[in-house]
């Protein structure tokens, strides 16, 4: 009997049943995909890092090297399992010429190295250690993906020709967020190039036990070993490898939560409508002594059927899309070893969706308990009176047209039913607004300031060279004399020792100079203004355990200097561990210097970049916009695409759900419609009432959605943006789009759909519907 009841019911409400099923399938598919991706990603990263034997601790260093001292330290430190120093030859991008173009515009620090002997191997696309022969070159995989070159092509480096033997996976530098890229050549070829570029050293350690990493880092620093460059550790490599695909997974999870919610809403709406419709029957069943649980079973069985079919469908569909989404992971990281696990986790994910739906249906059915058999049999409708409508009476209405009034009143009287539609509309508004605001924010000119980069036009880096301060002064003098440069600032970075509370010492890189000229955004506090203030990057503040207002002691020239932490900022440059201060320090021990400049006219940027690059060959001159485009361009682009897709998806959801709701309401309300028609209301009156209902709900939905987008949405987007390294930010809202165009789009589509969806009301025959 259950089977027949269910089948009839499903056949009668085909459209809504199908829609619910589609949403369930979509939710199941997304959850299963997310599970499969998570397992594959983490598995692939593990496989890659295990095969490559990624170092646990790496110190980059440029300048003179004292290998003996390092070796002694490694031999003596009990935690060290293996130790090596690799050479990395930094080569200007312009010197690496592919068949089509050179890497002159690349913001990556491109360089050459040889295959290492002990660990930190560079792997080929099959995950094997590469053996490279003379004349051959292996190219970082990112240049395969952007189509720069292919196997068999030639690459010219300083006029020498190499044949591309293949592409390499680099467990340290695969990610675009890692700013260096290693090309692999044979030892003989390496010797040839060695004289032409700047040598940088990668001092690498593998520990016996990774849990000793913290202690080892401290030991390394306090031993005062070579450390002229960023320090990187195993967990950081792992994060960098995970980040881009991790973001994709996060987005998929987020979307799947929304889809599950929409599926819930569809279920809730149909269920509430059905309960209202069956009110009398449910009452009768109760009256003749059936138990609530017996009655529930019929309804539960129906949704179990829908959810089961939806889940199966979704799981099957996830196989179709799986390979597409795994492509990137496979390319950069290779196959995962526990891929079969992934299928299992996919099933678990789908099962969770199924159970969540059943729990939800069960929850909604709780209201069976409240149905009084006496009332149900006598009146056939529930006597639940919603507060608010008592005051909202036709006889007191002086403001609104009667149709508008009746529409709004209906919404207020049946809040439960319309809450469902409202929820869907709020979600839609949310889906439209948040990605758009996110896109506006990260594409706005000021966004880089959230990431520790001042808003200038031109940036000159002087690194890996001697006499940094003289060279910086030379450029500064040229800028001073250059009338097209409206302002500029020279910042120098030096290393100091920080005294920790437990008496140990750590090293900290401090950028000295005037930080007010190209200000950045501070998460807390502000820029250092006086000589006794210092601002810390988020990572440093966390590591040193300092808050704004805390004191910090630096050792400068053998003397202790007490400073107050005045601000904390996010930084994506230099491994994220930086500090800013203004105090004067006469010592000449400069690590690097950065000169930022603003031009009087933006049109000059290209020309000036080229001019300064030409004039000062020792410096790396970059155009900030170009820098941003190359570093974040692909991200900004995908967020833009995502936000456009979101508008499409949200509008389709709005249209679909409104259409369904309106059609169901017309069917449900056919009695009232017939009564009103009998008493002289025209078809357009009825349409006007329905339009008032949906537009009223929509307006509330837009307001709530906008509010939610600017609070919860901002917080969520903050999480996304934090993954780029910025810890605090505010939405940049384009008021025209967010407050006019998008709401208008929604209103217009709802309006059209409502009119279209209520066409059936015109066909309702009074004579057939008025006899109950």
């Amino acid at each position: 009997m259950y089977y027949r009841i269910i089948r009839n019911d499903i056949l009668r409400n085909k459209a809504i049943t199908l829609t619910t099923m589609v949403f369930v399938a979509a939710a199941a598919m997304l959850v299963s995909l997310a599970a499969i991706l998570i397992i594959n990603l983490s598995g692939a990263i593990d496989t890659l890092m295990t095969r490559a034997k990624t170092p646990h601790f790496m110190q980059m260093h440029s300048g003179k090297m004292d290998t003996g001292q390092l070796a002694a330290f490694a031999a003596q430190n009990g935690d060290v399992a293996e130790f090596q120093v690799l050479e990395f030859i930094n080569v200007d991008g312009a010197r690496i010429v592919f068949e089509k173009s050179s890497l002159a515009d690349s913001v990556q620090d491109n360089g050459f190295s040889v295959q290492s002997e002990k660990f930190d191997y560079l792997l080929d696309l099959d995950g094997n250690m590469i053996r490279v022969s003379d004349g051959e070159i292996y190219v970082p995989i990112c240049y395969m993906q952007d189509g720069s070159t292919k196997v068999g092509d030639t690459v010219e480096v300083f006029g020498r020709e190499f044949i591309v033997g293949g592409f390499l996976r680099d467990s340290l530098m695969n990610s675009l967020l890692a700013s260096s890229k290693r090309f692999l050549v044979s030892r003989n070829d390496f010797m040839g190039i060695g004289e032409l570029g700047n040598v940088e050293y990668l001092i690498e350690f593998r520990l016996k036990d990774i849990s000793a990493l913290g202690a080892f880092e401290t030991a390394y620093t306090s031993a005062g070993l070579d450390a002229n460059g960023p320090t990187l550790t195993y967990p950081l490599f792992k994060t960098m490898n995970a980040i881009s695909d991790g973001l994709m997974i996060a987005v998929i999870l987020l979307v799947s939560v929304l889809v599950v919610m929409i599926a819930f809403m569809c279920i809730r709406f149909t269920l509430l409508a059905k309960i209202e419709e069956d009110y009398r029957e449910i009452g009768v069943m109760k009256a003749i002594g059936l138990r609530v649980s017996d009655i529930k079973k019929i309804y539960l069985a129906k949704y179990a059927a829908i959810a089961a079919v939806g889940s199966l469908l979704g799981y099957t569909l996830s196989f179709v899309f799986r390979d597409m989404l795994l492509e990137n992971i496979r390319l950069y990281m290779g196959e995962s070893e526990n891929a079969s696990f992934a299928l299992l986790f996919g099933i678990i994910g789908v099962l969770l969706v199924f159970l969540a739906i059943m729990a939800y249906v069960n929850g909604v059915l709780k209201r069976f308990q409240k149905i009084s058999p006496a009332e149900a049999v006598r009146f056939g409708i529930s006597q639940e009176k919603s507060a608010g409508t008592r005051l909202f009476r036709l006889s007191r209405n002086r403001l609104l047209g009667t149709n508008v009034f009746l529409g709004i009143r209906d919404v207020l009287a049946r809040k439960g039913l319309y809450a469902t539609m409202l929820a869907v509309l709020v979600i839609s508004a949310f889906i439209i607004i948040v990605p758009q605001n996110l896109y506006n924010t990260i594409s706005s000119k000021g966004f880089i300031a959230y990431m520790g980069i001042g808003q200038s036009d031109l940036r000159v880096d002087i690194q890996q060279t001697d006499n940094v301060s003289e060279k910086a002064a030379e450029i500064a003098a040229a800028m001073e004399a250059d009338s097209t440069i409206s302002k500029y600032v020279v910042l120098v970075t030096k290393t100091f020792r920080v005294k920790m509370e437990d008496g140990s010492e750590e090293q900290i890189k401090v950028e000295l100079g005037d930080h007010s000229i190209f200000p950045i955004k501070y998460a807390e506090g502000g820029a250092p203004a006086t000589g006794d203030e210092i601002a810390l990057s988020v990572l440093n503040a966390r590591e040193l355990d300092k808050k704004v207002g805390d004191g910090i002691t630096l050792t400068i020239d053998g003397q202790e200097k007490n400073l107050t932490v005045c601000g904390i900022y996010s930084d994506v440059t230099n491994g994220g561990k930086t500090a800013k201060a203004v105090f004067a320090d006469p010592s000449a021990d400069i690590m690097w210097s950065v000169i930022s400049a603003e031009l009087s006219a933006k049109s000059l940027i290209r020309e000036k970049t080229a001019e300064y690059a030409e004039r000062f060959g020792f410096a790396k001159v970059s155009d900030i916009d170009e820098y941003v485009v190359q570093t974040f361009g692909s991200t900004i682009n995908s967020v833009r695409k995502a936000s456009q897709a979101a508008v499409g998806v949200a509008l389709s959801i709005t249209i679909l759900v409104t259409l369904l709701f309106m059609r169901m309401l017309v069917v449900k309300d056919r009695y009232s419609i017939a009564v009103m028609k009998a008493f002289g209301f025209t078809n357009s009156d009825i349409t006007a009432q329905f339009v008032s209902r949906s537009v009223f709900v929509l307006l509330i939905g837009i307001v709530l959605g906008t509010l939610l987008a600017n609070t919860l949405g901002e917080a969520l987007a903050g999480v996304v943006i934090a993954s780029f390294g910025a810890s605090s930010f505010e939405f940049v809202v384009d008021p025209l789009a967010a407050y006019l165009v998008c709401p208008l789009l929604m209103v217009v589509s709802t309006l059209v759909v409502t009119i279209f969806g209520t066409l059936d009301a015109g066909r309702i025959k009074i004579s057939e519907n008025i006899k109950e």
Binding site: Q383, S395, F405, A678, G680, T682
Partner: protein, 254 residues
């Protein structure tokens, strides 16, 4: 006498193919202005269908219905709605009220469509009618908080709101006990005395005996017509009116 409604040779069928039946099978009928006419007949004989046809609420297959000189078949949906709202009133067997509105709002609903008068005037008028019907104290209640007889009176008040020329009543007393039925009939008699035309469907001889003319329907046709003449309460002849009507009905051999 001026003719309010003229139905000529009305044909109306339901069903398709073999199932097709003429529910109204060539009905011709005239209702004059100010008349109080009742329609009797067995269940399924087409009484309700005739009411829907004469009021233009439902289309007919062939024939012609003229209301106050206008051919209803030539009018558009909206024009028909306008006529129903301004010139006709309806009372159905069930109360047919909107459950989301309270009783007062249900009564004023048709008048609020045009908003020709001030809300307070409309409400005032509704209160007056409710007082006459003896349901003033129900004003603020929901429709689940009143008895069947009270709700039927609510329906009558609603039908009277726009001072219609004619009221169609489809078994207004069908679901009521005889006391409530008498009260409702008293109300309708008052309205009739005030000059409103009434067309009333009923099964009840006691009810029909109070009307001026009785039409008897059988199998989609008007089988006969009984002229009773105006009923005057003061004459105390209800018993004899009932008896002669009963005799006439028996003669119809239904």
């Amino acid at each position: 006498m001026k003719k309010m409604i003229v139905g000529e040779n009305i044909l109306k069928s339901f069903g398709e193919g073999d199932d097709k039946r003429n529910v109204l099978d060539g009905v011709s009928v005239e209702i004059n202005e100010g008349e109080f006419v009742s329609v009797m007949g067995p269940s399924g004989s087409g009484k309700s269908t005739l009411m829907f046809a004469l009021s233009g609420m439902d289309g007919i297959d062939s024939g012609k219905v003229t209301f106050d000189g206008r051919d209803l078949s030539t009018l558009k949906d909206n024009e028909l709605a306008d006529i129903r709202r301004a010139e006709m009133g309806f009372v159905f067997q069930q109360p047919t009220l909107l459950k989301n509105l309270n009783i007062l709002d249900n009564i004023i609903l048709p008048s609020m469509r045009d908003h020709r008068e001030d809300v307070s005037k409309i409400t005032e008028k509704a209160r007056l009618l409710m007082e006459k019907a003896g349901i003033l104290e129900l004003e603020k209640r929901g429709i689940t908080q009143a008895s069947g007889g009270q709700l039927q009176r609510v329906g009558i008040c609603r039908a009277l709101m726009n001072q219609p020329k004619i009221i169609f009543c489809d078994e207004p007393t069908g679901a009521l006990n005889s006391k409530s039925a008498n009260e409702i009939m008293g109300l309708l008699a008052d309205i009739h005395r005030a000059g409103t035309t009434i067309l009333l469907v009923t099964h009840d001889v006691k009810v029909a005996a109070k009307t001026e003319r009785v039409l008897c329907m059988f199998d989609g046709q008007i089988a006969g017509e009984y002229l009773a003449g105006a009923y005057d309460e003061t004459r105390n002849d209800l018993k004899s009116r009932e008896e002669s009507l009963t005799t006439w009905l028996a003669g119809m051999k239904l």
